[in-house]
Symmetry: C2
Subunit: 494 residues, 2 copies
């Protein structure tokens, strides 16, 4: 085990360096004054090179080879497999490209924050184009080695093992039933009225409510915190998880559910196996599985009448006992389905349309079928088709709404809908194992849910492949029917 | 200039890495949850090694040698001199020692925060002892090379060119007149009564007041921010200055002046020459000169009746028009002299006693004349002698009050009193150049002061030695008589 032990030391070092990077990234998004962005972009780029160099250290290749012949237990074998995969993925890219990407992402991100506020596509486009150019170059290099298509070679970074051929099939199926389902739900909900809560909901009170709910869900504030950023995310490191959210004084509803969503991500991170944290095998399985945890908490559980009942006293405590804050009214609000422009504000039914639209555009961009300048029109066309909404000249709430592409995250969006499907399948299993789970949730007892997730998802980190993980946890491979059933049960048959 | 240009690139890289380190350090002090300290300590230690390795890069030695023969202008020559000094200083220490120090400082710092709250010297002592052991090892290695005494070899890191022989002389002189001066002032002030402002002074209001005053002083919030930490400091990087302060709801007076103090540091950082920021020559001249800027703002100007008059409207705006907040009452409060235990809360007259006590203890520690376990008793003895105060069993407000030693900052404390002396000498010159300066201050016009400091101190960074800088700015070398005159004029003859 000499070689394997040396590998562990190498990856521990990388883990420490990534810690620095994650905290500084969090700072950039939530704390940094805007005049400092140039200096920060340069610092991050320089540091990106250092992490890259540590990840492509030639000694790792030799050690990986030597460790293959060592007597390893099952977890160590899985660990070695993930090290091998990570190393191969990291060594494909030349350090000049990594540095150029880091700088381009920092600059594009900063421009995105500024120009999104101005609805200025033209001011943003050149920065985004530079990012896309570099991502295409990355995809070209990766596909040369792994034999995947350009887009699939990026998709594989976020959802290992997933192919666009499979996604095309799943999404084609969704497109056969989703539009009609949306129509039927919208029709059904026409007869349901609810009262919109009227602000002002002070940010201080919203923060306090968010913290109470996070504690209820089990977030460990001794190893994490929550702050504000333009685009909410779950950052930091497993030992120090940094959530961000955003508040609107006129509406606490979205922000509260956003906090629950990010807390789902955070619980996964905080409950990864402590002794494996520094190693690739100790990290979250995939972006899709990560999203399944946020959507398990936000969608499967968070928007259910039972869960809302359990946190209802906190809401009353924060904002007073108002007719609009009555439990049944809140349940209606949280299950309202309505085609809209913004993905992060979308309900769980129309959400898949937002993802499929982005998937189609980014796949065409990376595969070279369209140009950066085609994005706004293509967005408008697809949005009209999917949800009947016009986005002409409205960049801010259309193709400039997400941070992902500014960060070079192509191949990431499908994870959201895969996550929704994984989550539905997981929750379906929990209900089978614990038939009275909804009563427990209503009574504020989340112990069964957390035990199940800890045992079946969190503690397994990347020990198994996604398919193995889901099969062990739920008895079968990904099966999108649970997602469809969940939507029908909650929104049509309820 | 080929070699010099390559050196510039090398130091730019180090500047970018230091940027990461400074931001993460700030986070550790002001944002990080306590349960994350172990993971953070490891990450910081790992990163400390990387910065160290970049600073001791052997190619720098070759380039420094080559650059000596190149045709450089005066600034480039000064730059090369500072690179040479920095490089020599950095290469003396083996990387194992640097890593051990980084880890020991992180751990000691964290223990300090915890155990200070518990007044637990015994819980803190082993961590501090480890830091001292490593600092003595550092001093031993440095003095072998530079021929200075153990303590002087550390003092030189903060106040280049300063020797303990000189300090012994200056402090011996201070000890001949300070006790009597304190006694006379305390006697004089017995007949002066003032009304202590009664809280609650809400933290939000204090923050807002602090920000107004920082803006009045010229702090650039586009390239910096202010937050809370246990021990206030001015951190971050010149392009993104991170001030911290602390608030007490029962007393806004100390915190406000603390903010002015840190803003003095910040203005120096924010006004260093932009084109030299990445280079050793572009950094602040010394800790003593740095402190002279904070004390220029806090003591020379900040506590004067004229300055208080200029910010008085802000104070009233924040806390209402109360008898205790009348201008003449505030002037009395801000010039109150009273022997007390806490250095950072001390008035400017008794402050020097706090520094001399620490100087004597740390010099004896590093020179091996006393042990870590001797600190509490020695502190008590010296505190009784200097200010007539007993600190037996009171570690929290005695030898555990400062963060410096936890961070391995031995040789730093003298900078405070040197800074007070430099500041008095600088302000004396400003008064000669602008005889009506006090009227300008009272009218809220700080343009003459800032122009003078920018031209004579800030923009010169480390281009000149401390002695040259002071001589060019004030017409003579450090002359402590201006400090004594200032204290007598403000507190006795006024």
């Amino acid at each position: 085990m000499k070689a394997y032990k040396k590998l562990v030391e190498k990856y521990e070092r990388i883990h420490h360096l990534s810690h620095m990077q994650s905290i500084v990234y969090w700072d950039q998004q939530s704390m940094m004054p805007s005049g400092s962005s140039d200096a920060r972009a340069k610092a991050m780029a320089e540091f990106g090179v250092i992490i890259h160099e540590a990840s492509v250290d030639k000694e790792i290749a030799l050690l990986l080879n030597d460790a293959m012949g060592e007597n390893l237990n099952a977890i160590q074998k899985a660990s070695l497999r993930e090290m091998q995969k990570t190393y191969t993925s990291n060594t494909i890219l030349p350090s000049d490209l990594v540095k150029a990407q880091s700088l381009a992402h920092s600059k594009c991100n900063h421009t995105w924050i500024e120009q999104r506020a101005n609805n200025n596509w033209k001011g943003f486009e050149p920065r985004l184009n530079e990012v896309i150019k570099l991502s295409k170059e990355e995809a070209r290099i990766r596909s040369e080695i792994n034999g995947l298509s350009a887009y699939d070679s990026l998709l594989d970074l976020f959802e290992p093992g997933m192919k666009s051929q499979t996604l095309d099939g799943i999404f084609a199926d969704v497109k056969t039933w989703l539009p009609e389902l949306i129509q039927n739900i919208v029709e059904k909900q026409k007869s349901q009225t609810f009262i919109k809560p009227q602000g002002i909901f002070k940010i201080k009170a919203q923060k306090e409510l968010g913290v109470k709910v996070m504690k209820h869900l089990g977030f460990d504030f001794n190893k994490g915190r929550i702050d504000i950023s333009a685009h909410p995310f779950c950052g930091g490191v497993p030992e120090d998880v940094r959530l961000t959210t955003r508040y609107d004084e006129n509406d606490f509803v979205q922000s509260l559910m956003g906090t629950i969503h990010e807390t789902g991500h955070a619980l996964y991170e905080q409950n990864l196996p402590q002794d494996l944290l520094a190693l690739p095998v100790g990290q979250a399985r995939s972006m899709g599985i990560h999203e399944s945890q946020s959507l398990f908490f936000e969608m499967q559980m968070g928007r259910s009448g039972e869960f809302l009942k359990s946190i209802h006293p906190y809401i009353i405590e924060s904002f007073g006992n108002d007719e609009a804050l009555a439990l049944d009214n809140l349940v209606k609000i949280y299950s309202k389905v309505e085609p809209s422009l913004i993905r992060v504000d979308a309900d769980e039914v129309t959400y898949a349309s937002h993802v499929i639209l982005r998937y189609e555009i980014e796949k065409a961009l990376i595969n070279g079928q369209i140009q950066t300048s085609d994005i706004p029109d293509m967005w408008n066309d697809k949005m009209q088709e999917a949800l009947g909404l016009n986005t002409k000249d409205n960049y801010k709430n259309a193709c400039m709404q997400d941070v992902h592409w500014s960060e070079g995250l192509f191949g990431y969006f499908p994870s959201y809908t895969l996550g929704a499907m994984y989550a539905a399948q997981q929750f379906n299993t929990v209900k089978k194992v614990h038939p009275n789970i909804n009563d427990s949730i209503a009574n504020g007892d989340l112990s069964q849910i957390k035990s199940w997730l800890k045992e079946n998802i969190w503690s397994n980190a990347s020990i198994y492949s996604t398919d193995e993980l889901m099969s062990k946890a739920t008895g079968e491979s990904l099966n999108p029917k649970y997602f469809k059933e969940h939507l029908e049960n909650r929104y049509l048959f309820n």
